[in-house]
Structure formats: structure tokens, C-alpha cells
């Protein structure tokens, strides 16, 4: 339903489509997405928040223990929800060049 609303209202913009595609290819962090898409942080973070609010993306904190073992802070990572995956599939169908624009993340075990 959310997807239908987004598509009908034209809110599934190029930016959102690119971010959804990046997330589907295994880029899970804000800076990762900025790096691979070339979008500025002022676009990526508010877009991620909006997608999370609309239920297309969910976020989780990485396990503290694992991060501590590797002597680094835990990160918040973003993943696509089921409606998010549907939105991503629709966006890819609508913008076919997206698949060629963003390379799959190395080590992505989707």
C-alpha cells in the first residue's frame, strides 16, 4: 500500500530509487551509500529517515560486543523491509540504468 502511495504521488524520486538500490546491493551505512551514490550527506540521511518512517527501511544497531572486539564503535545499519524490496524492484523496473550505475558491494552475501 505504501509503495502504491509512493508511486502514485510521485514520491519515489530518483534519489530514493538510488538509495533503495544501494541498500539492496549491500551498502548498509550512511557513508557507504554516500560513497557509492555520490549523493551528499544532507540528502542521504534525511532520505534514510523518511524511508524508515514510511516503513521501507529498518535500522538496527550492530552488536556492541563484535564492535568492541574489533576496537571500533558499533554502527547503525539500514536494511530494506519487504515493502522496501518491492519498492526497489519497482524502481529498478522504472529506472533500468540503476542496475548499471551502482556496483554490488564486495562480500555482499544477499
Amino acid at each position: 500500500m505504501i509503495l502504491g502511495v509512493l508511486m502514485n504521488s510521485g514520491k519515489l524520486s530518483h534519489t530514493v530509487a538510488i538509495i533503495l538500490k544501494a541498500l539492496s546491493l549491500g551498502y548498509q551505512f550512511g557513508f557507504d551509500i554516500m560513497e557509492v551514490t555520490g549523493l551528499p550527506s544532507g540528502t542521504v540521511y534525511p532520505a534514510l529517515r523518511r524511508l524508515e518512517r514510511d516503513g521501507l527501511v529498518s535500522s538496527n544497531w550492530e552488536a556492541e560486543q563484535q564492535a568492541l572486539q574489533e576496537q571500533r564503535p558499533a554502527r547503525r545499519y539500514y536494511t530494506l523491509t519487504r515493502p522496501g524490496k518491492e519498492a526497489e524492484a519497482t524502481a529498478t523496473k522504472r529506472y533500468p540504468l540503476l542496475s548499471r550505475l551502482i556496483p554490488e558491494k564486495a562480500g555482499n552475501t544477499r
Partner: protein
């Protein structure tokens, strides 16, 4: 992820540290307290990864631009979260309803002032319209609206009158209703004047009948909307109830209860609206919940 990248040059490190040390606490003030620590932690983690070399050639070339872009992004992110939280907290509230009505009145007044050109001629039009047409329609419309006014939902658990602000709940309910109806009447009046201006200029006195019809429709509709809106508000915080859920199967012998339940987003209670309002007194019922239930109802606890 487990591989630690090479560190960055010192000047870039310093700039990033300044962002982390100075701008992050300032920007975090835009975030509501409940979400602040998570937001700061997220940005600190991202800065850590950036500081420890997760960068590409594009960034190496444009250090200052990159730092400025990051700063802008951080503030934009904080501002978005702050605005969104504010919008969520005000959505459907009594204040936002009154502000929207007042702003609509101001907008209509401004358009009419622009159309008429001067205050004096605008006031003249207002006076003529108010005495000549509006009063004729408004008084019967107000009478009909209040005669058929939806009954205030009964409280399931009647207790002592609660005081959740400066005024008791009942007084706040009535005050809000009065102000809302007043603003709706003013807005209705301004909309009627707005439509009558071009009609009057085009048709002269023949346009009077059209004005009366328009006034009747606008006033009746606006008053009905204002009164119906009141029916679906929380009796404690006056926020619009939401999440309508149908309850109970439709009964063959019409004796079992079935209808719709709406809840207050702040967790004050629920309104049960029966599918059929029969002569056997199936009125709307406001079920106020104990404060210990607030967390279960409230949207603030949702992830």
C-alpha cells in the same frame, strides 16, 4: 568491515574532529531528547570510520568542500528529525487545528484585501455583506447545526473531573469547541465574501441569490465539519483519534455490539463507535484507560 583502513592526513583529521567536537553537540539540540543519544552515537560512529580512512579519491581532492558538505548534512539530518518529531507531536492536535483555521482566515482576508485595494473599502464590503446576507443565513445555520449537534461521547469510567492543564477537561473541551466554531464561522464568512466579490461584479444585484445559496452551503458544511471533528477527539488531550479498527461481527438479530474503535495516539483512551445507533441507546463510548496503559497505546513507544 573487520579490516582497519589506513589513517587520514592530519589537517583532515583535525577538521573532522572539530565537527565531531563542536557541531555535533550543537546540532543534536535540534533532536528530541528521546532520540538524541542514538543520533549522536550514529554520527560519532560514522565520523570514526571516516577519520580512519574510509574515503575515496574524490574526497581526497576536495577536503574543505567535503567537510562543509558533511556539516551541512549533519545539520540537515538533525533539522529533519526535529521537524518530523514536531510535526508528529502536533498532528491532529487542538492547537494545530486552530492555527490552521486562523491561517486560512488570514489568507482569505489577505486575498480580499488585495482584491479590494484598501482597508476602508474592504471593511465596507464586510459590513454590507454581514448585515445584508450573512446574518440571514448564519443564524438559521447555527441553530440547525447545534440542534443536530452530535452528542459528546459518554465516558465509560466516570470519575472526578480531571485537570490536565490550567483548565479542567470539560472546560478545555468546551473552550476548544467554541473557538473552533467561531473560527469556522469567520472562515465561512470570508469564503462567502471572497466568492461574492467576482459574482457581484459580474451579475450585479442578480448575484444576490447565488450569494445566499453559496453562504448556506459553505456555512452548513463548515459548521457540520467543525462539530463532527469534535466527536472524534480525545477527551483528555483533544487530539484527533486515529487507527480505526472494526470490532465485532455484524449481528443477525442486531443485538450484539459491532462497530469501530479509534485510539488516542498519546494513549489516553479509545472511542467505541457502534455501527448502528439504535433507540436502545448505543451511543459512542469513550473508554479512558489507566495511565499504566499509556505505553501500550502510545505511538511514542513504537520503533
Amino acid at each position: 568491515m573487520s579490516e582497519r583502513p589506513a589513517p587520514l592526513p592530519t589537517d583532515r583529521l583535525n577538521r573532522l574532529s572539530q565537527l565531531d567536537r563542536w557541531l555535533l553537540p550543537v546540532a543534536s539540540n535540534l533532536i528530541p531528547r528521546a532520540k538524541r543519544s542514538d543520533w549522536v552515537k550514529e554520527w560519532q560512529a560514522e565520523f570514526w570510520y571516516l577519520r580512519h580512512g574510509e574515503c575515496n579519491a574524490r574526497r581526497q581532492r576536495n577536503r574543505v568542500v567535503e567537510i562543509l558538505s558533511l556539516a551541512r548534512g549533519m545539520v540537515a539530518d538533525a533539522a529533519w528529525i526535529g521537524m518530523n518529531s514536531l510535526r508528529e507531536s502536533k498532528r491532529g492536535s487542538a492547537q494545530s487545528c486552530l492555527v490552521q483555521l486562523a491561517l486560512s482566515c488570514v489568507a482569505c482576508g489577505a486575498v480580499e484585501l488585495f482584491y479590494e485595494g484598501s482597508w476602508r473599502s474592504l471593511l465596507n464590503v464586510f459590513f454590507r455583506y454581514f448585515i445584508g446576507r450573512f446574518m440571514l443565513v448564519a443564524l438559521p445555520a447555527i441553530f440547525v447545526a447545534f440542534a443536530t449537534m452530535p452528542r459528546r461521547p459518554r465516558k465509560c469510567n466516570r470519575g472526578q473531573a480531571r485537570v490536565s492543564g490550567m483548565l479542567p477537561d470539560n472546560a478545555r473541551w468546551n473552550l476548544f469547541l467554541t473557538v473552533k466554531v467561531g473560527l469556522s464561522l469567520i472562515l465561512g464568512f470570508l469564503v462567502c465574501v471572497l466568492t461574492s466579490l467576482p459574482v457581484g461584479k459580474a451579475l450585479g444585484h442578480n448575484g444576490d441569490w447565488i450569494d445566499v445559496i453559496v453562504s448556506t452551503i459553505v456555512l452548513t458544511t463548515s459548521l457540520r465539519l467543525a462539530l463532527d471533528d469534535q466527536k472524534h477527539r480525545c477527551q483528555r488531550c483533544l487530539r484527533l483519534l486515529r487507527e480505526p479498527v472494526r470490532l465485532g461481527p455484524p449481528s443477525y438479530n442486531l443485538l450484539d455490539w459491532n462497530g469501530t474503535e479509534l485510539v488516542c495516539a498519546d494513549g489516553h483512551g479509545s472511542l467505541q463507535v457502534p455501527e448502528m445507533q439504535g433507540s436502545w441507546c448505543w451511543y459512542d463510548l469513550w473508554v479512558e484507560v489507566d495511565p499504566s496503559w499509556h505505553r501500550s497505546f502510545s505511538s511514542e513507544t513504537c520503533p
